[in-house]
Structure formats: structure tokens, C-alpha cells
């Protein structure tokens, strides 16, 4: 069984993965101590007719140690995790130059609204595409996440990004892809019988490709 995380392609993914591996190591140590201890005791102190157990009610120093060590460990963990959490989800974490995209989740599909040429949402040249999220590599994108009917969850494993979409709320969540290509976008919150097939894809373009794609779309919109 392998405990490695799959490759990740967003700017904050490495931070998340690092924390994960730190915890993996710490918990592995705790795990080994406990399980090894168990096995060792089970073998060494297995019942013998002639053996009499050592009568003790405890040992203060030992107990202080195994209270303090985990306490310190979790504090360290907290201190390490906090900044990363703020960087990804924090109140004012969204980079100023991020490209806005509107994502509206609905049973069981994703409606993605693009700002069009003017780069601003809510203007006349906005256009909407189903189940395709096109973004530019090495450029932060901010997703204006809304839900039509029930709660869904915007999950891009390759970006290590997950955020519920709640009806009645507009949640801003951002990411910056570091690699062009096509990645899967999944719905991670039970939203009804079609939850399992509420999928889309994220297409990460170079700036040029994106412009080209944008042009096609706007034309298509115009010709209709």
C-alpha cells in the first residue's frame, strides 16, 4: 500500500503535500511506538504460571512525558498548518491579479461563466459553458462558487483544492495551475442520485491557447 500522494499541479499543492508528509512521519513514529510496544509486551510478558505481575499504580514522570510530547507535537502541527490554511482559504488570500470565473453547481453539472474579453464578470460579453473550466497556466484564477439547488463540492484532486458550493452563498476560492493539460473536476459532496457522475474537466492553457479558445467561444456566441 503506498502512502504517496499523486502528482500535483498548483502553486499551493506542494505546501499541502509537505504538511501531509510531516504528519505522515510524525504519526508513523507514534504508530510504530505503539504497535511495536504492543507486540513486544505481548511476547515478552505473555502469561506464565510462575510469573507474578509487577504491582504498580503508575509512574508520574512517564505519564508527564507522554502527555507533554504529544502536546508539543500538536502545537507544532498547528503552527505549521495555520499559514498554509490561510494561504489557500484565508479571508483575503485571493491574489489581486486573479482571473475571475463564475462556477455555478447544479444537479448534476457545472456551469462555468467566463468574463469574456474585458476580463470582468457581470459584463455583456460574459458567456457560459457546461462542464469545462478553461484557465491559464501560471496565472491565478479565482472561482466565484455558487450552487443552484443543493450543496455540491468543487474538487480538483490535481490542484489539491476542494470547496463546497452552498446555495445562497457566493464563495471565492482560488488556485494557480503550474502545468498545462487536462485535469478532472469532481463533485465531492453528496448531492443526489447523480452525484457520482457530476464531473467536468479543467483545461489549463498557455496564455496564447487561452486567447485562441476565447476567440472561438466569443465568435460562436456572436454567430448564434
Amino acid at each position: 500500500m503506498d502512502w504517496m500522494l499523486p502528482p500535483a499541479f498548483s502553486t499551493f499543492a506542494p505546501d499541502i503535500d509537505r504538511i501531509y508528509y510531516v504528519i505522515l512521519v510524525l504519526t508513523a513514529i507514534a504508530f510504530v511506538i505503539v504497535e511495536a510496544g504492543l507486540i513486544w509486551f505481548v511476547i515478552k510478558y505473555r502469561g506464565r504460571p510462575d510469573r507474578k505481575a509487577y504491582y504498580t499504580h503508575g509512574n508520574a514522570t512517564a505519564e508527564i512525558v507522554w502527555t507533554a510530547v504529544p502536546a508539543v507535537t500538536v502545537v507544532v502541527l498547528g503552527i505549521m498548518s495555520g499559514p498554509i490554511w490561510n494561504k489557500v482559504k484565508g479571508r483575503d488570500s485571493v491574489p489581486a491579479d486573479a482571473m475571475p470565473v463564475g462556477v455555478r453547481a447544479q444537479q448534476f453539472e457545472w456551469h462555468v461563466t467566463y468574463p469574456g474579453a474585458d476580463g470582468a464578470l457581470g459584463s455583456a460579453d460574459d458567456f457560459t459553458v457546461r462542464n469545462q473550466l478553461h484557465v491559464v497556466v501560471n496565472r491565478p484564477t479565482v472561482v466565484m462558487l455558487t450552487a443552484e439547488d443543493v450543496i455540491h463540492s468543487f474538487f480538483v484532486p490535481a490542484f489539491r483544492l476542494k470547496q463546497d458550493a452552498v446555495p445562497g452563498m457566493e464563495i471565492r476560492v482560488w488556485f494557480e495551475p503550474t502545468q498545462t493539460g487536462r485535469f478532472e473536476l469532481a463533485c465531492a459532496e453528496l448531492c443526489g442520485l447523480g452525484h457520482y457522475r457530476m464531473k467536468a474537466f479543467v483545461e489549463v492553457h498557455t496564455q496564447e491557447d487561452y486567447q485562441r479558445w476565447l476567440a472561438e467561444q466569443t465568435q460562436a456566441a456572436a454567430t448564434q
Binding site: V34, L38, Y45, A53, G58, F155, L193
Partner: protein
């Protein structure tokens, strides 16, 4: 003392002449032991049912879209031609979680053992309110019936997960489920009443009815755990009842508590549910920890290591459990600053848990380990709970949770704490107190076989789920093969399913052992495990009224291998060699 004498005399007199009709004795009994056994049978059946549902789920996950062997018996609305429908699958997940949490593990831990053990272990003739106690069982029954009935109503059973997130759970037009979800709400409200009446009884009994000398710090850890658990039940369940009622209103009488329309607040449901829900999960582990402490001390023939810190750890977990609920909502759109605070509080639960874990190890250290079946399960509990607990730390760290939230990593966590933790402890506890319940021992041989096979197949089933989660495998999905990035995991899923089927199959050994030992098991004497608790003072099975005279308690529990004692255990009602302290020691009040 006159009072004590008076009230107890009645109880004792009762103990001798037991002239109750069959109905009074076994059906509408007010005897805490009978009620405990009634709960035991009910919840084991629900455990089997929950397991069965899991098997059906596992079939779909392992062999997506293929007709299930024997699935043909299911009606068209569930699995036409044996192939599960998506809507049926999510009802299965929902009901698997619901049955296991509310109708199997919770009644097993609290309904069964709180009832059976508290009066016996504190030296009381019965509960403080025997009639209310009976009511709490007979209220639970209709709740269960209603919850099962939900499968057969128009529109199928509730399909919003055991967490019933609104708005999905509140909008029939979105979920396609109407009656089923309403049954779910009503059933849980009724069950909640039963639990509240129960815990009210347990709390009053433990506070007021301890035998002379049974001071707070002479209570066995199982009783401490059940006491704190009862407080959690008492204060957490009403929140669920209130929330479920509001959810029911949203579905039926057109209110808007959790619907976004007109200012309703979907996240409010999650806050209410988890404000109940996290204490709930500790309700599901604390008693298990208590039983394990009793059993490990007994199996190691040693006093529990650090009794007092064990008590404080239980209390600490019980308290911290109230201020961590937000860790289920990190990705829900909740205020991220709250996320920070909840992360810190959550991480800190590792500390009292560590205390318990290492104190169990300390108890086994330099012991004289007796590997009887309960002890095996208790050791497995420690080994498995640690895995579940440690995986909890990953999710507690908010950045990591962004990725693993709502994936199979959570599912793995759930099952390591709930099956590897609670259920192993329950198997151990059932075997341990079985003789006191039925006067016979469960077969040690088949017990060991069941333990070994369960332990193996259990790990084969749930360990790989960590990997699924790490690769991004979402929860509650009907057909993983839909996603490209999940297709490489298909073999793992199939492996898990097969292991799960075997896991279920070997549970039959337990079922048979449980049922057959009732009639053919080896007769047990008063104290088959040579334990120190008061429950071993009366004969097995304990008579109505428990003790023929109120025991007096002289010392802490777990006085095993006392240097001056001739035997390697000194029951709590027997003074230690050379002990001259008065019975009702004011110490430790």
C-alpha cells in the same frame, strides 16, 4: 444509616422472592439486567442488518454495474435485474451509517452495558428509575421499526447520508425522497427520547446509588466512561432532536430553516448536526475505552496504569468533544477563521487520547498477560484505535483536510475508530460479561477463531481505503469507474469488496457462538475471569436485585497481583491485607 438499611432491605427481600409473571420478568421487565439483554439482542440484529447493507454497497463498489448474486430478489425500485440503482445506493450508504451509529453501536455500548453494568459495578440493587428504564427500551423499539420501514415507502429511504445535509435532505424535489427522509427524522427524535431517558437514569444511579465505600475514585473506569458518556448523550441528543424536528418542518409544513430561500441557512443544519455529531462520536468510543481498561487490567493481572490520569483523560475528551465540531465543516464555506480555532482544539484531543493509549501500554508492561478472548479484543482495540486516531490527525490539519475531506480516507478513519475501536471493544465486552448475563461462557475456541479471522479480514478491508482516499477517491459515489483518475483503483476496490464479504462471513462464527453458548455453553461460576469488580460478587447469572446484602467497598478497582495478597486479585469488597481504613473513605471525594 437507618435510611440506607431501610431502602436496601426492601431491595434484598425482593431479591429472594421473585414471583413475577413471565411478562413482567422477560418482556416488560424493570430489571436492568433483562433490559440490557433486550437491548443486546435488538442492537445485534441491527448490527447484522447494517453489515448486510454494507455488503450490498461493497458489491456495487467492487463490481460496478454488474448484477448482484441474488440481487434479483430486490424490487424493481431498488435493483432491477439485480443491478443497484444509484438512488438505492445512496439510501444504502445513508442507512448503513444510520443503523450502525444509532441502532447498533450506540445501543450496544450504552443501552446494553450501561444498563447491565452500572448497578452491578457500583453495588446497587437496580437503577434509580427502573420503570423509566423499561420505557427507554420500549421507546427505542418503535424507532427501529420506523427506521426499517423507511425502505418500503414511496420514493425509497432517506438518501442524504447519515449526516442528512440540508438542503438535499430538506427538498424532496431535489432528492426524490419524501417519506423516507421524514421517517428518518421522526425515528431519530423517538430514539433520542429513549436515549435521554436512559442517560438520565444512568447519571442519577451513578451519582446517588453507589454502595458504601464506592467513592468517585474507586469507580471502575468503565463506569467513569459510561458516566461521562451519559452526560454527553444527555446534552447532545436534544440538539439533534431539535434539528431533526426543524428539518422535518422544512420538508412538511413549508418552513425555511435550512433552505436558502428567504434567508434560511443551509450551514446552520451542519452546525447543529455536528454540535451534536462530534460529542456523538465520543459517545461511541468512551464506553469502549472504559471496557477495554477493565479488560486489559484483568488480562494483565495488574492495576490499571495511572488510574487518575485515565479518569481525567476521559473527562478531558468529554469536554473537548464539545468545542471541535467545526472540523467536519472545514470545506463547507464556514468562516475560515473558525477553521483555525477548530483545528487547534481538535488537535488537542490527541493529548488525552495519548494518555489513555500509553497508560494501556503501561498496564500491560511487566504484566502476566492472559490471552483470553476479551483480552485479545482489547489489545486489538488499542492497536486499531490508534490507527483511526492518528488518521484523525491528518484531517484535523486543515490544509490536508482540503484534499482528503469527503474521500475514502475519512471512510477509513470512520471504520478504524468505529469498527477497530468500538466494535472490537464490544466483541470483547460481550465475551467478558456474557457469563454474568447468561450464566454460561462463550466458547473460547470459536471466540479465538472469530477474533483472528475478523482481525485479518477487517484490516484487509479497511486499510486499503486509506490509499483510495489519498488518490482522491470520493465518498458516497455509486460508481467509481465514472472518473478516469479513479479507474486505476478498480482492482483495489474489488480487493476491498472481497475482503469485506469474508469479514461479514466470519461474523457468523460470532453469531453462532453467541446464540449456541446461551444453551450449550460451559456453565460459569461467580467469577470466571478472577476479576475485582463488584459485578462478580453475586452468582452468574445475577439474580433479580443483584446482591443478597449490600457490598462494602474497601479499595480502588483493579487490585491485581497485590504483593501481600494470597490470590493474584483482591475484589473491591474484600479488604486488602492489613487494610484498616474505614469503608467509606472520605479520601478522593
Amino acid at each position: 444509616m437507618a435510611t440506607t438499611a431501610a431502602t436496601l432491605d426492601q431491595a434484598i427481600h425482593h431479591a429472594h422472592v421473585d414471583d413475577r409473571s413471565f411478562l413482567r420478568k422477560y418482556v416488560f421487565s424493570t430489571d436492568h439486567k433483562i433490559i440490557g439483554i433486550q437491548f443486546l439482542i435488538m442492537s445485534l440484529l441491527f448490527l447484522a442488518l447494517g453489515g448486510l447493507l454494507a455488503m450490498v454497497m461493497r458489491w456495487q463498489l467492487g463490481f460496478p454495474g454488474q448484477a448482484m448474486p441474488g440481487g434479483g430478489v430486490l424490487p424493481e425500485t431498488m435493483a432491477p435485474g439485480g443491478v443497484l440503482l444509484p438512488e438505492f445506493y445512496i439510501s444504502l450508504v445513508t442507512m448503513h451509517g444510520t443503523f450502525m451509529v444509532f441502532f447498533a453501536i450506540m445501543p450496544l455500548l450504552v443501552g446494553v452495558f450501561a444498563n447491565f453494568l452500572i448497578p452491578l459495578k457500583i453495588g446497587a440493587p437496580d437503577m434509580a428509575f427502573p420503570r423509566i428504564n423499561m420505557a427507554s427500551f420500549w421507546i427505542a423499539v418503535p424507532a427501529g421499526v420506523l427506521m426499517v420501514a423507511g425502505f418500503f415507502v414511496e420514493g425509497g429511504h432517506a438518501g442524504a447520508g447519515w449526516t442528512a445535509y440540508a438542503p438535499l435532505s430538506a427538498m424532496p424535489e431535489m432528492s426524490g425522497v419524501s417519506l423516507g427522509q421524514q421517517f428518518w427524522c421522526v425515528s431519530l427524535v423517538i430514539l433520542g427520547l429513549s436515549s435521554i431517558l436512559g442517560s438520565m437514569n444512568y447519571i442519577a444511579t451513578i451519582i446517588n446509588m453507589r454502595a458504601p465505600g464506592m467513592t468517585w475514585f474507586r469507580l471502575p473506569l468503565s463506569i467513569w466512561a459510561l458516566f461521562i458518556t451519559s452526560i454527553l448523550v444527555l446534552l447532545a441528543i436534544p440538539i439533534l432532536s431539535g434539528a431533526a424536528i426543524m428539518l422535518l418542518f422544512d420538508q412538511t409544513i413549508g418552513t425555511h430553516f435550512f433552505l436558502p430561500a428567504d434567508g434560511g441557512q443551509p450551514l446552520l443544519w451542519q452546525h447543529l448536526f455536528w454540535f451534536f455529531g462530534h460529542p456523538e462520536v465520543y459517545i461511541l468510543i468512551l464506553p469502549a475505552m472504559g471496557f477495554v481498561s477493565d479488560i486489559i487490567a484483568n488480562g494483565s493481572r495488574k492495576p490499571i496504569f495511572g488510574y487518575h490520569s485515565m479518569v481525567f483523560a476521559i473527562v478531558g475528551i468529554g469536554f473537548l468533544g464539545w468545542i471541535v465540531w467545526g472540523h467536519h465543516m472545514f470545506q463547507s464555506g464556514m468562516n475560515p477563521t473558525l477553521g483555525m480555532t477548530f483545528m487547534i482544539s481538535t488537535l488537542f484531543i490527541a493529548v488525552p487520547s495519548a494518555i489513555k493509549t500509553f497508560n494501556w501500554l503501561g498496564t500491560m508492561w511487566r504484566g502476566n498477560l492472559q490471552f483470553h478472548v476479551p483480552m485479545l479484543h482489547a489489545i486489538a482495540f488499542v492497536a486499531m484505535f490508534v490507527i483511526g486516531g492518528l488518521s484523525g490527525v491528518f484531517m484535523a490539519a486543515t490544509p490536508v483536510d482540503i484534499y482528503i475531506h469527503d474521500t475514502y480516507f475519512i471512510v477509513a478513519h470512520i471504520h478504524y475508530v468505529l469498527f477497530g475501536g468500538s466494535l472490537f471493544a464490544i466483541f470483547g465486552a460481550i465475551t467478558f460479561w456474557y457469563p454474568k448475563m447468561f450464566g454460561r461462557l462463550m466458547s473460547p475456541f470459536w471466540g479465538k477463531v472469530h477474533f483472528a479471522l475478523t482481525f485479518v479480514f477487517y484490516n484487509l478491508t479497511f486499510w486499503p481505503m486509506h490509499e483510495l482516499g489519498l488518490k482522491g477517491h470520493m465518498r458516497r459515489i455509486y460508481d467509481p469507474s465514472e472518473y478516469e483518475f479513479l479507474q486505476p483503483l478498480a482492482p483495489t476496490n474489488r480487493f476491498i469488496s472481497i475482503a469485506a464479504f469474508l469479514l461479514f462471513a466470519v461474523q457468523l462464527i460470532f453469531a453462532l457462538n453467541f446464540v449456541l453458548s446461551w444453551f450449550f455453553g460451559q456453565k460459569a461460576d461467580r467469577n470466571p475471569w478472577k476479576d475485582t469488580g463488584l459485578e462478580w460478587v453475586p452468582p452468574s447469572p445475577a439474580p433479580h436485585g443483584n446482591f443478597d446484602h449490600t457490598p462494602t467497598v474497601y479499595h480502588m478497582p483493579y487490585e491485581f497481583s497485590h504483593p501481600h495478597a494470597t490470590e493474584d486479585y483482591v475484589p473491591q469488597n474484600r479488604p486488602l491485607e492489613g487494610q484498616t481504613r474505614p469503608a467509606a473513605a472520605p479520601a478522593g471525594q
